[in-house]
């Protein structure tokens, strides 16, 4: 992902007055991001240091909100709520990331290297994207008739005499949350990885095989490094979505599982905006660290 090359427009840009015209064209677009992205982020940071009571926000400067977020976290024997919530959210992120990465890579690989005709490729690709256009909540609740206590899966297993009583952990559990995430967001992995794979020069694969590389060696030493950009983009998408999520964890966890996003949402519903803002700042810091680490990690491997 980078701005388009501007070489062919250099002549256009050189004309006097063009820079100003470009600025005016980009102004409304820029204004949206200033008004609805940069200013709100600044306000979150500001309000996270404010005080509050039941009725209103009290401008000021206090670390009270941050202290209350980490209340009791000095105790190492018993993890405080905040740390436990972050660990649980991180656990979901890692699980979903791992599964979507392997699944997304396999699907993208199949589409990019095994499907031979471009027409078929497009068709199968579109087939994968269609469910993406259905509402996320609908896709979540569509698991209920399958996984519920009297759902299709339990009924089938009972009819086959594989189990005696219904399995309870299928729905409203960690399992159903991870399943829903994979169902909802594997597309975010497939698209960027497929995109990178389609740009790989096919003669490199022939060169690898002519040099005597096995299928696995070609995969690991040629295709994976060349799909790196797609893998990173997909990973960043999936991890940031899961880290901030409160809808999927709420619906598929039966409102029983805590997540960082959910804490923020609950605090705003009680109008505890400074607390929510402090939590948002911490969440943002954690997400940025993960993204930074992710890009580092891959760069290091490239250098080896």
């Amino acid at each position: 992902m980078s701005p388009p090359s501007t070489s062919h427009t250099a002549a256009v840009a050189a004309a006097p007055g063009r820079g100003i015209a470009a600025w005016w064209q980009a102004a409304p677009f820029t204004a949206v991001f200033v008004l609805f992205f940069l200013v709100p982020l600044g306000l979150i940071l500001m309000v996270s240091f404010w005080d509050f009571n039941e009725y209103e926000l009290l401008p000021g400067f206090t670390f009270k909100n941050y202290l209350s977020v980490f209340e009791g976290c000095g105790n190492t024997a018993d993890l405080c709520t905040t740390l436990r919530t972050y660990l649980s959210t991180l656990k979901f992120s890692l699980l979903v990331w791992g599964i979507t990465l392997v699944l997304g890579f396999a699907v993208a690989y199949f589409l990019a290297f095994h499907v031979r005709s471009p027409g078929m490729q497009t068709l199968l690709f579109v087939l994968c994207t269609i469910p993406f256009w259905t509402s996320n909540v609908i896709r979540m609740i569509s698991w209920v008739p399958l996984l519920g206590r009297n759902g299709l899966v339990n009924q089938t297993l009972i009819d086959l005499h594989l189990i005696q009583t219904s399995i309870e952990w299928l729905l409203f559990s960690d399992f159903s949350v991870v399943l829903a995430f994979v169902h909802l967001y594997t597309m975010f992995m497939i698209v960027p990885i497929f995109n990178s794979m389609m740009r790989i020069d096919r003669s490199l694969l022939e060169a690898a095989s002519d040099s005597g590389a096995s299928g696995w060696q070609t995969l690991w030493n040629v295709i994976v490094p060349l799909s790196r950009t797609g893998i990173i983009i997909g990973s960043i998408f999936v991890i940031t979505i899961v880290m901030g999520d409160f809808v999927t964890i709420g619906v598929m966890g039966g409102q029983q599982i805590a997540s960082v996003g959910k804490i923020i949402q609950v605090q705003t519903s009680y109008l505890q905006f400074p607390l929510a803002a402090a939590n948002a700042v911490i969440l943002l810091a954690v997400v940025l660290m993960i993204i930074y680490g992710l890009t580092r990690l891959v760069d290091i491997r490239k250098e080896l």
Partner: protein, 299 residues
């Protein structure tokens, strides 16, 4: 074991991955088809199989309303917001796409902000916009009090709303997609047509309206479709930024814990149908535009 050479027997990895692909597609479609089928349950039917009869009962229930929720109003709000988001996304993305083709001071910074918005956890953006408008409310109330406009002050509710905060929240999500699509379009765009138009004496506006726009029209329609469908399903960015009323996905999310009849599946089927109608119309429009261009080229 070369996987790309033609006219060779398929390697084992092909069959394994083909199986993964088929299972993946079943995994994606299976549950949705179940919902679709179950929404046609008879009046006696419940949330799971077996089917007890076949009827439109639960769609009628839906039309009569689910509890206290006015589905029709929520549907109209979501449609109105989706259309507004679509219009803004198309206009702003095309303008910004054009701007990025020229020398744009601060273009890299703007691009960085756009990508940051795309990967920012939505709850944070939503919280920030909610806060912003609450602080604006406080300011407006203070100004009204200072001006002594007591009646206006008492009548003032909040500046949070469908076409203020919620529209802005949705745009921070749809515009990055719009801009990335415009980049893809203009990367493949041949500027020779524009130069030809200029050589023939076209003004910049004529060059844009008669040359550039018709050429990029199918992609622009695609951006519109992206804008609408992303807004139509959006929950996380709307949740703190909507104010007193709710959009359809928010109502739907609330209903998942209260409604225990197949009418919620009927609602699911209905919203899916709307998405697909939008997609179908878009594809038809893209096809028509493409055909017009091909016919023009043949002439």
């Amino acid at each position: 074991m070369n996987k790309t050479r033609l006219r060779e027997p398929r390697p084992l990895s092909f069959w394994l991955l083909a199986m993964v692909f088929v299972l993946f597609v079943l995994f994606m479609y299976g549950p949705m088809l179940v919902i679709f089928v179950l929404s046609f349950q008879g009046p006696e039917g419940g949330l799971t199989f077996p089917m007890r009869g076949l009827s439109l009962h639960w769609f009628r229930q839906l039309a009569e309303g689910l509890g206290v929720v006015d589905i029709g109003a929520a549907l109209r709000r979501s449609l109105a917001l989706g259309l507004a988001v679509m219009a803004c996304t198309v206009v702003l993305s095309v303008l910004a796409g054009l701007a990025f083709r020229k020398r744009l001071a601060g273009g890299n910074t703007l691009f960085f902000v756009v990508v940051a918005s795309l990967i920012m956890p939505s709850i944070i953006v939503s919280l920030g916009i909610g806060l912003e408008f609450r602080l604006i409310d406080t300011a407006i109330k203070a100004v009204l009090g200072w001006l002594g406009l007591q009646e206006t002050l008492e009548g003032f509710g909040t500046s949070l709303g469908l076409f203020t905060s919620a529209l802005g929240a949705h745009l921070t999500w749809t515009l990055p997609f719009g801009l990335l699509i415009m980049f893809a379009v203009f990367n493949r765009f041949n500027p020779a047509y524009e130069e030809a138009a200029r050589d023939l004496g076209a003004t910049p506006w004529q060059g844009f309206a008669h040359v550039v726009l018709p050429l990029v029209a199918p992609s622009v329609v695609g951006i519109g479709m992206f804008g609408f469908t992303l807004s139509w399903d959006e929950i996380a960015r709307t949740s703190q930024a909507i104010g007193d009323v709710n959009t359809l996905p928010l109502e739907l999310q609330g209903l998942t814990s209260t409604v225990t009849t197949p009418s919620i599946y009927a609602l699911g089927t209905l919203t899916t149908v709307v998405s697909f109608v939008v997609m179908g119309l878009t594809l038809a429009l893209v096809w028509l535009l493409g055909r017009g261009r091909r016919a023009g080229a043949a002439r």
